[in-house]
């Protein structure tokens, strides 16, 4: 079946099998390997992307369910070359070690901040409670999201870390 989706602002159309999972469509058909394929059981959250305006565990939806919708992956988190404050926060606060959970964490964090710009640590932990990190113990992830809340795009950063 042919599907049309808008991924990170670009329209694309592909022929897919109905049983193809969205995570495999993104990684294998589109080459967007920033979204990670983790537990395959909707427990770990490494595969979280946005479908329209909501984060979703992309191992638990079919690519055909995304037909006609917008998809946002970690590759689409930066805007015009400026890192999202969430990305800067993860870098500054050491919100990652191995990085496997990071794309999913950041996409859910962005969604949280869009709905609750100044969330207390408990709200951050609740929002991320369906996503697993085995490195950080979560402390620095919570700090990273707090940093992003305190710096809402006031300090655009180049991916190389140089302030503009």
């Amino acid at each position: 079946m042919r599907i049309k989706v808008n991924v990170n602002g670009a329209d694309c159309s592909r022929e897919v099998e109905p049983r193809l999972l969205l995570i495999h469509f993104l990684r294998d058909d589109l080459g967007l390997t920033g979204s990670h394929w983790g537990c395959d059981t909707s427990n770990c959250g490494a595969c979280v992307v946005w479908l329209d305006e909501r984060p979703v565990k992309s191992c638990t939806v079919l690519a055909v369910m995304a037909d006609g919708r917008r998809i946002r992956t970690v590759e689409g988190l930066a805007r015009d070359g400026d890192l999202d404050p969430v990305q800067v926060g993860f870098a500054r606060c050491h919100g990652l070690q191995c990085g496997f959970c990071t794309p999913g964490m950041m996409l859910t964090a962005r969604w949280l901040l869009d709905h609750d710009p100044d969330p207390p640590p408990a709200a951050i932990r609740e929002a991320l409670s369906g996503q697993v990190c085995r490195c950080t113990g979560y402390e620095n992830i919570v700090r990273a999201v707090r940093w992003a809340a305190q710096h809402p795009a006031v300090e655009p950063q180049r991916p190389d870390g140089e302030a503009r």
């Binding site: 427990n43 959250g45 979280v48 984060p55 079919l62 996503q131 697993v132």
Partner: protein, 306 residues
Amino acid sequence: MQVPAYVEYERASSVGHALTLLARYGPTARVLAGGHSLIPMMKLRLAQPETLIDIGGLAELAFVTRSDGELRIGALTTHAQLLESPAVAGQFAILQDAERVIADPVVRLWGTVGGSVCQADPSEDLSAAFAALRATMVIASAEGTRTVPVRDFFAGPYETVVGTGELLTEIKVTAGNSRGSAYEKVGRRAGDWPIAAAGVALSLDGDRTTIGEAGIGLTAVGAPRFCAEPAEDFLRGKLATEENLVRAGQIAAEHCRPISDQRGPADFKRHLSGELTMRALRRAVRRALGDGPGPERTGPARRGGP
């Protein structure tokens, strides 16, 4: 790598179209809503439909309304929409209590109320909550609409009375069944199924000291039809005293039939069923008396994890 087996896909454009497709494809078709129960089952080959009929785009089935003392929940309402709806505040707080501890916030954005109850998992939270509320299930087919009490909706594990060519469209709850309600769950970690959980919806009669009707729902512990009828019978017409609430919890514990598994031994689950029933009863009575929402939950479901 877990991927579903080969399957055909049809997208419904209206409820009528969905019913036409369901009639055309018959028993080899399954309804796809949020997919958060069905797709994991398909990965494990526990479900192997030949055709998926995607109703995910039917906005007409996503609603929560309350009028004339009746709460109506469209089958395609997501868990997040139900949790956030002002229509379930107050008398239907049991649904907010339950939704707060169903899966995790990202899954709740996509998983649907109708999909969850139609999955009929023996550990499903809303099944117990709706059993406590004595909800009515509205089932549509090409021939028209029929209603089924929720306690007659489940035909067994992973099986409901929704037949070939039929679609659950709506769940209705009458406010009279619930002047105060609450849901208590203990799980191993955030997002997990319950070890045990209990829901209560009750009304207080006249002088507000006597229990009129009490609904007690249990899940994950092998209670037939997700409810504890002997405990409900015991409470009817009794004073809402601590002694009676404790006794009802004991009766509920005796009534359930838990099995030992990775979530704990059967005797522990039985104890937990009684304790959670008591806690839910106390909280529901407090809410019925208007003494505020009761203490916020502090159970293990919210400990651990991030």
